[in-house]
Amino acid sequence: MSKPLRHVVIVGGGSAGWITAGSIAAMHNSASNDGVQVTLIESPDVNIIGVGEGTWPTMRTTLQKMGISETQFMRECDVSFKQGAKFAKWVTGDEDDFYYHPLVLPEGYFELDLYKYWQQDNRGKSFSDAVCFQEQLCEKGLAPKLITSPEYAAVANYAYHLDAGKFADFLKRHCINKLGVHYISAHVDGVNSIDTGDIASVITREHGDIGGDLFVDCTGFSALLIGKHYNVPFISKKDTLFIDTALAVQIPYEEGDNDIASHTISTAQDSGWIWDIGLPSRRGVGHVYSSAHTDQASAEQALKAYLHQSIGDKSNELNFRKIDINPGVREKFWVNNCVAVGMAAGFLEPLEASALVMIELAATTISEQLPANRQTMDIVAKQYNQRFNYNWDRIIDFLKLHYIASKREDTAFWRDNRDPKTIPQSLQDLMTLWQHRPPIEYDFSHKREVFSAASYQYVLYGMDFNFTNPSVIRNENETKFAQRLFKENDKKTEQYLKALPSNRELIDKVVEFGFSKV
């Protein structure tokens, strides 16, 4: 009989490392003597990437499962609420061009598809505004819940904006102090393997060899185990998603500017786009662009021009941190007794904040499927690779959708993005289908899809994508039902606009009083 899996060794202490460690340790009771042992090794010489401030609502479940108090998390990681993304200038590039991708599903989503009813009579409202109250909350800077709402409970579905450095540090303390994760500060230099190709132990500079049954590669761009050791090919996605460089900066709030946006703002540029994320103490802003379409000086200029609108001439004095990103994905993620999570597994531009959500998905899957012994590991690995190849492909499709639904003709970046050669076949097929009907759940029918059909609807119809053939409405009862749903949304919008505090007000109260658990 194969020996049972007792010890998981994680290399890397960024968000990927700590989320994986925390998820496994919480589920497999690492704090007790008979639980699975989890060790995390982090290099004292290599810094974490320290960006990545936008999450998905899944983060609420992820934190809750690790036994983290939402109040404490918000207080210690400079957290604000995120209720979706506002995409400005993505469709036509005009000054007043924007649409929302909110986190609340369209009204009556599982009962009736409102798209065609909205198409027939949109009452002067955008799709997201007609079917979802959240756009208005964001436009007014309101919070997604009340101070009387319990921890993690929502009035309007929400995610977080957070300080990535503080977050990794917070998770580290929680994992060590509460969940029984062993922490070793050491630089990994190499690997000891056995004949089967399995890793027996990693060789550290400071603490000798550290053995284990399963090794998780969370070493970020260096991809120490999956890349350097196992040489699993890295499949570039640059032909589809052109963005390969980031310029990032942190901006303090101006005197008297007290509002915190409760959504990520993404503003399209000539050869990329700018993210703008509001934390309680500062904003995090960055320009990601395609180096094939513009140069660093022009990209800096564009970022300064963007910042000039809010901070004036101070934008001229800023220093930007340049980060090279190589869009792409490993051919597989799990080989032998090693699985890669986070940027070691792959990285795509941060357009829909998909990196952390993929880390959570990976951590959950590994914890849930944790092989009982070496014998079952290959089966688990095979399934895992299939699943995550599928997940990465769906994310690529969804990110690319934002570019191909654009009508911008002004620069080569936007025109090149719509060249069919750059569009995955899977997405081309879906686009053909969607000329005749809206995206539906059937199109994404796996369990735990990263993005649901609702997300595709918000983006497609936010970007003014029309059916070739107007849809036919046959059923009078359904029309009445649709009218009821639109009214229901109007009613909720009105109620919530009155009842919810501003984002800043609620965040201040969380710091002062905290949410209660119930």
């Binding site: 101070i147 109260k509 119930v518």
Partner: protein
């Protein structure tokens, strides 16, 4: 209710009186009242006691329910009000403590209809505070201390995850139904699982009795329903 607070002063208020016969007191539209920790047991003999979140801070506070609807005082409507325990929060009115730099100071709401120059308890006699005024001041300081004790109590309950929401589904004789939410109480089962040392501490601080009285007081909800059924019949 209009609130117009003035710092109590023997010069300015030497003629003021507070009517205490209940005539000018408008309790008919009060459906709940905050309680201080030390009065929970006394109040529990008459009213259902629950925990409620303060809408401004989200913090739990113990409250006595007087009605099953906003602005409804069933005890008052059934002419039982004067026979029931009167919470400090109500009896201390129209007096309040206001924070003034170092120490809290006694203030009076001069817009309260009970405050006038003709009938009731005077505040001062020959510019000395009357027994009545001294008593009110003492009650207010009890109330303030009680609210501090409340916070300690609530923090302990939260620490051991002992607070749980209650859903009250109420059906009246005439077929009407209501659901009261936003109310919380202590989870009896979880309480039994608290470690022995904490149990002992709860016993010593009087929490065990307070919790038992609070849990027992939930029976008064039925009394309120019965009273309301009778009132509706008449």
């Amino acid at each position: 209710m209009n609130i117009n607070l003035e710092k109590v002063s023997s010069q300015k208020h030497h003629q003021l009186k507070v009517a205490t016969d209940g005539r000018h007191q408008n309790n008919a539209s009060i459906h709940l009242c905050h309680l201080a920790l030390q009065e929970i047991s006394a109040a529990a003999a008459y009213y259902p006691i629950f925990l409620l979140k303060d809408s401004d801070t989200g913090q739990f506070q113990p409250v006595a329910l007087f009605g099953l609807d906003i602005d409804e005082n069933i005890y008052q409507q059934a002419n039982l009000w004067n026979k029931c325990y009167q919470p400090l929060k109500l009896t201390t009115q129209p007096f309040f403590l206001v924070n003034n730099e170092a120490a809290p100071e006694l203030a009076i709401n001069v817009s309260d209809p009970r405050v006038q120059n003709d009938v009731g308890e005077p505040l001062f006699e020959a510019s000395n505070a009357t027994v009545y005024l001294k008593q009110q001041a003492a009650s207010l300081s009890d109330l303030t201390q009680g609210f501090v004790l409340n916070n300690v109590f609530i923090n302990e309950l939260s620490k051991y995850d002992l607070i749980e929401p209650v859903e009250l589904d109420i059906a009246f004789a005439d077929g009407q139904q209501r659901q009261l939410d936003g109310l919380y109480t202590v989870n009896r089962e979880m309480l039994e699982h608290v470690d022995a040392l904490t149990q002992q501490q709860f016993e010593k601080s009087g929490y065990v009795k307070i919790i038992a009285d609070m849990l027992g007081s939930a029976n008064h909800v039925k009394v309120l329903i019965d009273l309301k059924n009778q009132l509706n019949k008449n």
